[in-house]
Assembly symmetry: C2
């Protein structure tokens, strides 16, 4: 259902999907089990090969699946999914099927076993690097991005461009409050405005 707008993103551009600090959905799987959780604490760590860091609390079901599989995906939701993101952040996948509970559908990733989330606007497939001290002391996971895709209505030629309000990415403040990614300034936007 969402295939029509999905395009592969060059790995050298993968960090740009996450550079502006959007909230993410971390999806994971091991064996027959899969899960999804909301995570605001995720960011790029390197350009090429692209790496990311994400905080995955030791008490979560996601942590168990990520440690067992060594893989996860960072899915970047948009405004149209805001209420589903909140629902994915309020219960544990140990207790319910979070996809059903949150109203999120999934589709197959290209390089990893974790599913990707329908309706998001970017997807980064990640393999965990072995940094056990960071896992144990800080719940911090460093991973290499092995594949990336984006919705070409909002990410084209290596750049975000939000024309449709419902497809804007989200920034999470806590307490169930988001901001949408707002007006763009600088660069070609500024230069374009200066052109008569």
């Amino acid at each position: 259902m969402t295939c029509a707008n999905r395009s592969a993103v060059a790995l050298a551009h993968a960090s740009r999907l996450l550079n502006h600090g959007p909230v993410t959905l971390v999806s994971s799987a091991h064996g027959d089990a899969s899960n999804v959780m909301a995570a605001a604490w995720a960011m790029p760590l390197d350009f090429d090969p692209p790496k990311v860091v994400v905080v995955i609390d030791a008490t979560t079901y996601t942590r168990q699946l990520v440690e067992a599989s060594g893989e996860f995906a960072l899915n970047i939701p948009c405004r149209a999914l805001a209420s589903q993101v909140l629902r994915a952040g309020t219960v544990s996948g140990r207790d319910v099927d979070k996809f059903d509970y949150a109203g999120l559908a999934r589709f197959a990733a290209t390089q990893i076993g974790a599913p990707l989330i329908v309706g998001c606007v970017a997807w980064l497939e990640c393999r965990v690097l072995p940094r056990p001290d960071n896992h144990q002391r800080h719940d911090l996971f460093i991973a290499e991005v092995v594949a990336a895709q984006a919705d070409d209505r909002v990410f084209r030629d290596g750049h975000w461009q939000f024309d449709e309000d419902r497809l804007r990415t989200l920034h999470y403040f806590g307490d169930e409050v988001f901001a949408v990614t707002g007006e763009m300034i600088g660069g070609a936007h500024t230069r374009a405005r200066r052109t008569p």
Copy 2:
């Protein structure tokens, strides 16, 4: 000059200053030297005591000062400082006085030697934790937040509330393009809209 609007932020709320993924200015000092650089790759790592992670490239002057002092501040700029943030990202502090070059003024921090940046809307004073493997392999610094302040025109009672457009925080895409933090949705904002 900016003192009138600066208020201390409880350490237990410090992560909220950074939770939504804004771009930061990393300020640093050692001896008589000080510097500032733009950094989009910074995020919270823990709530209480609050910790942050930030990527500081090994080639930067900031890296040299941070390694020598074990301290830095994360300053969160707003829309009114966008052009100064870009200027702080285009030259090295080894070659010029970046504060003069970028047009940024500084004032004294409360707990660390690094200066804070006038005109930003939040300030986190940080002490680096000894994680040399992260420094050397990933340019990744984990630090504890030892003091935090915010502009009470936009951060009050532990929550961001952007009423003035020029005080909105920024999210960096690369290529000299930012988005401002946009419309807030969810939580009390949604509930307020539902109230007749």
